[in-house]
Amino acid sequence: MINHAMMFAGLLFVIGAVGIMIRRNLLFMLISVELMLNAAGLAIAVGGSKWSQPDGQVFLIMIFVAAATGVAVGISLLLANYHERKNVDADELSLMREREPIEQ
């Protein structure tokens, strides 16, 4: 059972990671991060159940809380950016790149 669960967690994690790498939409990138966090939480929870320890579930709750907080901050930044630029394209936000003058 654990093998299946861990493979599922790994699959989720990879989907999230690939999503971050290939999506340009900030909203989808945020969702991909949540996906990765969920994958991590699933792995921890399964581990806890395998060794009959409650710690896994405790950490899962903590990860949810942290993820929710992150989403709150991320969504508000996303909205602020949307109001500023009228788009949610991550590649447009490359002001900190090398060798190009910052437009004032």
Binding site: M29, M96, R97, E98
Partner: protein, 633 residues
């Protein structure tokens, strides 16, 4: 005596310091007065020292220490001076001739810019020269040695706005540096083998430490000769002196005729014990001297620049001194230095008057007929030229030159060809001296006289002319009239080499005197009969062979050309080739490596969050893989 002796050295240094620091803010008269009076004080003090010394005649000389310069690892040279017959004669000449030249310069240089700077350098020179001749140890001597070299450089390039003068100064500095390096190596060697640089200790320990005639003694003496030929402008390092005439005339008189260029003679005379242990080196000195006097005699014969004639003649007269040193006639060399200082300074100074009177014209063929307009300069130059040509019986140069020829003849270290060449050179000397006399002062006047010398300048000329005649009377040869206090006094400073006795062969001595007198007179006659109608130029114009010889002699036997080809050009080529500095490439390479790394890594900074995430994930994947693989193992 000790206070007076320190006064001799320190006063010129103090006044040089004052003149160089605040001289520019002084009125000209004050700067000139300080410059002259300081050397005057030095001279008076030297006379006090001389009278004390002559009264006491300490057998080992008189030594006094100011303080210990340094004391490290067994090397403890002091700021100490030693006075003996040799250094007493040297300081008397340096301060006296120096004083006269300063007085002359205070008037002749009055219209020049940098008047106080001039006197500052001159005083610095006098101080350094006195340090050089009085030094008790070789390190202090070397300090004075380099000090006079520096002043020579500064004063040759005194008119620094003209680039040629700067180049002449650099040439003088660099060429003498070649010899100085050899001398420095000799000093290291002496310190290693003797454990001290004290001259007296070295000389007394030398016979025990160095095997006479051994390769080590010869090599050591040769290194010292290297230093001496550089400073004294002897073959092969003579090329700087004719160019050094770019400096003001009083500088040529003081530094490049009377005093500094004889430092090499002094050095060999001072270390003569080392040379007696190395007969091949002694012979080398004699050969160098003879070749040089012969070489520069011919070069002087064809020069057009009056100062270059005198420069070559200085080289040739120092060649006589080297010949005397080489055959062990130490006193004859110093005697010739003594008379030469007077008559050569005189020749330069009266030439300076003539040059000033002809709109700074140096070419003797463009001058002429100055006899009537400048009677004092004419008569004094004539006396100087007569003394240089060793006019028999009445001039100083006659006695000193004959003592050298007699030394070369009678010494067991001499060889017939040495004194024969020296005799022939007497003839050449007379020809070129009176060639100048005739071309500059006789014939018709070609230019109006633009400037007459001042009273002080004339006075100096007269005083020097007086000494150019009388300075020789205190070293008469035995065969004429036994009166040689100077020579007997000087002998107290030297160890006579065992084989050298002045055998009282009066007949031979009189014969040599007669031959050299006849040759000198013949030379004077030749010069007058040729240059009356300028027959020499006629011959040169007619024959291509004579023309080639003429230009060969004119260029100083092609030494400049040779050195340019052998050293200057290859060096410049190398410098050009290496103009970006090969060794510097290592460091610029490091810098450009850092720059390349920067451009690689900064291109990763795209500002795109996806790329950063991708590299993070890649990194995480790699590390995870490594961890998994390691745990499996």
């Amino acid at each position: 005596m000790s206070i007076a002796l320190w006064t001799v050295i320190i006063v010129p240094f103090v006044s040089a310091f004052v003149l160089l620091v605040i001289g520019a803010y002084m009125p000209k008269k004050a700067a000139g007065a300080i410059g002259c009076v300081s050397v005057g004080i030095s001279w008076v003090a030297a006379m006090f020292v001389a009278s004390d010394f002559l009264r006491e005649m300490p057998p080992d000389g008189f030594r006094t220490t100011l303080y210990t310069w340094m004391d490290v690892g067994g090397l403890n040279p002091g700021i100490a001076v030693r006075l003996d017959a040799l250094s007493l004669v040297m300081i008397s000449v340096i301060t006296f001739v120096g004083f006269l030249i300063h007085i002359y310069a205070s008037q002749s240089m009055y219209d020049e810019d940098g008047y106080s700077r001039f006197f500052g350098y001159m005083n610095l020179f006098v101080g350094s020269m006195l340090t050089l001749v009085l030094a008790d140890n070789l390190l202090l001597l070397y300090l004075g040695w380099e000090g006079v070299g520096l002043c020579s450089y500064l004063l040759i390039g005194f008119w620094y706005k003209d680039a040629t003068n700067g180049r002449a100064a650099q040439k003088a500095f660099i060429v003498t540096r070649v010899g100085d390096t050899a001398l420095a190596i000799a000093l290291f060697w002496l310190f290693v083998s003797f454990g001290t640089l004290d001259i007296k200790t070295i000389l007394s320990a030398a016979p025990a430490k160095l095997v006479a005639g051994s390769a080590a003694a010869t090599l050591l003496a040769c290194l010292i000769i290297g230093g001496a030929v550089g400073k004294s402008a002897q073959i092969p390092l003579q090329t700087w002196l004719p160019d050094a005439m770019a400096g003001p005339t009083p500088v040529s008189a003081l530094i490049h005729a009377a005093t500094m260029v004889t430092a090499g003679v002094y050095l060999i005379a001072r270390l003569h014990t080392l040379f007696t242990l190395a007969p091949p080196a002694m012979f080398a000195v004699a050969v160098i001297g003879t070749l040089t006097l012969f070489y520069s005699g011919f070069s002087a014969l064809v020069q057009r620049d009056i100062k270059r004639v005198l420069a070559y003649s200085t080289i040739s007269q120092i060649g006589y001194m080297f010949l005397a040193l080489g055959v062990g006639a130490w006193t004859a060399a110093i005697f010739h230095f003594f008379t030469h200082a007077f008559f050569k300074a005189l020749l330069f100074l009266s030439a300076g008057v003539a040059i000033d009177a002809q709109h700074h014209e140096h070419d003797i063929f463009k001058m002429g007929g100055l006899k009537r307009a400048l009677p004092i300069a004419y008569w004094t130059f004539l006396i100087g030229a007569a003394s240089l040509s060793a006019l028999p019986l009445v001039t100083a140069g006659f006695y000193s030159k004959d003592s050298i020829i007699w030394g070369a003849y009678s010494s067991p270290l001499g060889a017939p060809w040495l004194w024969v060449l020296a005799l022939i050179s007497t003839f050449i000397t007379a020809v070129y001296s009176f060639r100048v006399v005739y071309l500059v002062f006789h014939g018709e006047q070609k230019m109006e006289v633009s400037k007459h010398p001042g009273v002080l300048m004339n006075l100096v000329l007269v005083v020097l002319a007086f000494f150019s005649i009388t300075a020789g009377f205190i070293g008469m040869p035995e065969s004429i009239f036994k009166f040689d206090p100077l020579v007997r006094f000087l002998k107290t400073a030297f160890n006579t080499i065992p084989a050298y006795q002045n055998h009282a062969n009066h007949a031979a001595e009189v014969m040599l005197l007669t031959i050299s007198s006849a040759l000198g007179l013949l030379g004077i006659f030749t010069a007058f009969s040729y240059y009356r109608h300028n027959r020499f130029a006629w011959i040169v114009d007619r024959s291509p062979f004579a023309k080639a010889i003429h230009s060969f002699f004119f260029s100083g036997w092609g030494f400049d050309w040779l050195y340019d080809l052998l050293f200057v050009r290859p060096y410049k080529t190398f410098a050009y080739w290496n103009r970006s500095d090969a060794i510097d490439n290592v460091f610029t390479g490091l810098a450009s490596l850092a720059r390349i790394g920067n451009s690689i890594f900064s291109s990763l900074q795209t500002g795109r969050i996806r790329n950063y995430a991708a590299s993070l994930i890649l990194g995480a994947a790699i590390f995870t893989t490594i961890v998994i693989l390691r745990t499996k193992l």
